[in-house]
Symmetry: C2
């Protein structure tokens, strides 16, 4: 047993319990009895200026780093990035990682019990937006009595939430690190999400979302995951990793099972995913991403959308990311600069595609760590003036 492991205990925040305290949603409906799963690391300073909120991507969860027990051998999803002595140093910062509502990792989502009916919501669960996810997280930060976060940090869908935070709650966000993200999905990304959701909805076991826990729509969900997975890689990284290598032999099988290593890899990824992710949640979360469009908040102008924002920003993209491209990051940067906001922008050279935000930790870590240190230093300096 490795005693040097950083052990963390997941927490749950239950809110919107009272009738007059329900969580309002963009669709016009409300949610009651909302649970948000979260984890915290490190200590909040007396001045409460060292709190960092980390937000996760589509299939992530509140477990950003460390282990859940001494025997746990699977660390959190950004363990190289966050922890004692890591780029987001939990010896220095109080780190909160919050799950999203709509998911399947401990927070209220479509498979939760609807308090009105006593049965799972399934497709009766309201269709959420990224702003709804952030609205729930704001309740958590309020509950933790943190008036202003040093930084809100996220990659991919986490970056969308981080940007949304700075617009929804400008007074609570000192800075934002938005990594491998976008202010709106391209039609190509919407198309891929649509195909993935269609595969789930077409699955014979889907039963309009009312599937049995024992018989989830595994095939549809694995199709959706395999497709999404290809968009997380790059043509270059796939060429390096698999090429046209064959799985089991030096010759073609002349059958319809797997021939190529890349086919085997994808099938494995699809199969693993269905063990840990819920099909209904997949529908809800991808739909929230498709709906996300910051420029709509500014009546079509992204610049206008950030008019009320006051945070300092770090925007990071990766050269081979074709899901959320450098061009999309640059649009964010332009809108921020148009509002005379402080922005650092960095495009990191990488062949890993969208997944680079999880893999290029050496470069990304240095950039994020510097950004956070400067934010904290300047903020405390301002205070002394």
């Amino acid at each position: 047993m490795n005693t040097s492991k950083q052990i963390v205990t997941p927490k749950e925040f239950l809110f919107a319990v009272e009738e007059d305290d329900k969580l309002p949603l963009d669709c016009g409906r409300t949610l009651r009895n909302v649970t948000l799963k979260y984890e915290t690391y490190g200590q909040l300073d007396k001045d409460k200026r060292n709190a960092i909120l980390i937000l996760h991507a589509l299939s992530g969860d509140a477990h950003v780093c460390g282990y859940h027990s001494p025997s746990d051998d699977k660390p959190g999803w950004w363990n190289e990035m966050v922890g004692p002595g890591k780029p987001i140093d939990t010896n220095k910062y109080f780190v909160i990682c919050s799950n999203v509502i709509g998911g399947c990792s401990g927070s209220t989502g479509p498979r939760s019990i609807n308090p009105e009916t006593g049965k799972p919501y399934n497709l009766d669960f309201p269709v959420l937006t990224i702003a709804d996810m952030v609205r729930a997280q704001q309740r958590l930060i309020e509950y933790l009595e943190i008036p202003e976060l040093l930084a809100v940090v996220g990659g991919s869908m986490g970056g969308m939430q981080a940007l949304q935070w700075s617009i929804s709650y400008p007074e609570m966000v000192h800075s934002v690190a938005a990594i491998a993200t976008t202010a709106q999905l391209s039609p190509q990304s919407i198309a891929f999400d649509w195909i993935g959701r269609s595969a789930i909805q077409y699955d014979h076991e889907f039963v309009n979302g009312n599937y049995d826990d024992e018989f989830p729509p595994e095939h549809g969900l694995s199709i959706a995951r395999m497709l999404a997975h290809v968009t997380y890689l790059s043509d270059e990284s796939m060429a390096k990793k698999f090429g046209r290598g064959l799985q089991n032999s030096n010759s073609y099988t002349y059958k319809f099972d797997r021939d190529f290593a890349v086919e085997s890899y994808l099938r494995y990824q699809g199969q693993r995913f269905v063990e840990r992710f819920d099909a209904n949640s997949y529908l809800y979360i991808t739909k929230a991403m498709d709906y996300f469009d910051l420029s709509a908040l500014g009546n079509g102008s992204l610049t206008q959308a950030f008019a009320g924002a006051r945070a300092n920003y770090l925007v990071v993209s990766f050269t081979s990311d074709w899901l959320f491209t450098t061009k999309q990051s640059e649009e964010i940067v332009r809108a921020l600069l148009n509002n005379s906001l402080e922005v650092s922008f960095c495009e990191i050279e990488s062949s890993y595609g969208h997944d680079a935000f999880l893999l290029e930790i050496e470069t990304l870590g240095r950039i994020v760590s510097d950004f956070l240190r400067n934010q904290l230093m300047e903020w405390r300096k301002d205070e002394c003036k």
Copy 2:
């Protein structure tokens, strides 16, 4: 009724009828009673030097141009490119368009009757290669008593067949126009094909390929088609065509049906496709494309693969084609030049993605037309010497 319509009658060529005449295949098996659907346009000159073989892409067929009857209002798939006075001028050239075996457009394929059992082959049909398709076409050209084709022309999978023709039957191919094609699929393309095939094979109605004609695996096939369709477009063309436009209203539906125009478009494309294409054929043809790897014919060297070729080549790529990229075309060009073969290479500026070979007819037509005229002129000049 428009009497100026060019009317064409599809033809069928039945071969490999005798036991000792069976069509050998790369997988080691053979095919008997093979039908190849084809169409011809124009007249073969006395010197038999004006014959052009056109080969189609995945979902194409033998009907390259013209109409099947005076009341027919749907012309062939390359009608702007081929016909009287068109870039591939049927007043001048004798044009043959041959279907592929393995498909579902009139030639022998997985839904054909297996002469050994009297029942449809379905997944007992042998897994084919592009070289097998070409092997069948060679029988057709032999039957038509054409000793050498002026040109073999094809886009996408048709380009693969054209390249293969020049390697399999060098003495029968005077020139090749290989458009928007590749000498081998990238792992990313193999991945997309795998996901599409998986969607078909996972479909409840698939029944291991033994589906009823009345109940084909429509859902799986439409998923495969929608996915493939995205790879035929470009991010840019999708942005131009759809953007983030909504389908029916100015606001989100907060439901899981179509919100975005691109979703509606894709669903429509998927639905139309299942009406005209067979799921088993989709498996066979995509597998043939995945298996296609000319460099394997040269023991890993594409240059070596073309060592026996003697044709003149035109290679055309399109800037926004991310399925079969300019880089992949350049690899072909390099291999041809290494063999001191005559090559013209052209990258056409286009935002249409892979579909550009069907859409950029003005530019492509001029290039192909010039190439063919030069080939014919030089060939006849050689003869006069």
